[in-house]
Symmetry: C2
Subunit: 145 residues, 2 copies
DNA sequence: CTTACTGCAAAATCTTTGCAACATC
DNA sequence: GATGTTGCAAAGATTTTGCAGTAAG
């Protein structure tokens, strides 16, 4: 409720500045819309959304902006097996993992602290320091059983 | 030590027969070499290995054979973020997950029964029956820290 | 002004598929 | 023999990149 925490937008601007890059309206728009998205968007989908606000944005710019966002951990790549790379963020939301129905494609999210803790410990035992992870459970959802 | 358990090769042959498909030397060679592989091979790599034994095998056949193997759960697709689909099997080996170094690309394997049990329980609570899962931890390995 | 960014279109990657020749059953 | 399989080459689908024009610092 209090405590100044930088918004994702601010973090992105800071990253841009620190790297000596330039802030542009395209980057602002893309980041803005991406942060407002709550699903796992593909570049194609994101481009479509961005174009509703600014019709003269190219696919390549979305591609390159998402690469920047991924570089500063404001976006995470996900691949669920259809040949599309998807992106998601963790704004206003803690880390979560996915349950994917292999029949209807439904995606549910979950998170579990015990698993997270175990992952960290296992990694440490093997000499790794973990910065990120993916966990996806594939199976049939309630409707498709 | 005792107990007749069908080998992966036999399971594949059975799957082929049951589906009314035909057994060919290419399929035998590809499955053979794949089962002997202990890493996460891409189609490209697998094709190269297969061609050392039989130089007249095409990429498409490897592709189609791996699809068959995946269909009968003798091969599992993995995508680690470089744009390559990789395959692995669980022969002579229980299920395992991956630790991936984001600097040098090293891949380590691990498995943990507690996590597996928790995954199952979580999924059930959400109405899913899990048949498969992926868990990948990304970070820096001992050498790259 | 200098350096970075953009959009477009072309290139590069991978993955899939059509088809005539060929191998199983 | 009938039907499935193969290899090749072409088609698809995405992801990357080169470049001339444009914009931010």
């Amino acid at each position: 409720m209090s405590g100044k925490i930088a918004t994702a937008k601010e973090q992105f601007r800071q990253f841009i500045t620190e790297k000596g890059l330039k802030s542009t309206s395209q980057r602002e728009d893309i980041a803005d819309i991406f942060f407002k998205t709550t699903t796992h968007v593909s570049l194609e989908e994101l481009l479509k959304k961005v174009r509703r606000k600014n019709s003269r944005v190219g696919y390549a710019t979305v591609y390159r902006t998402m690469r920047l966002l991924a570089e500063c951990d404001l976006a995470f790549e996900r691949q669920f097996g259809d040949g599309q790379t998807r992106y998601e963020h963790l704004i206003d939301d803690s880390h979560h993992d996915h349950l994917i129905c292999i029949k209807c494609g439904a995606i549910a999210e979950f998170s579990n602290q015990t698993i997270e803790a175990l992952q960290k410990r296992i990694a440490e035992e093997m000499g790794f320091s973990v910065t990120n992870h993916k966990m996806e459970l594939y199976g049939h959802c309630a409707k498709c059983q």
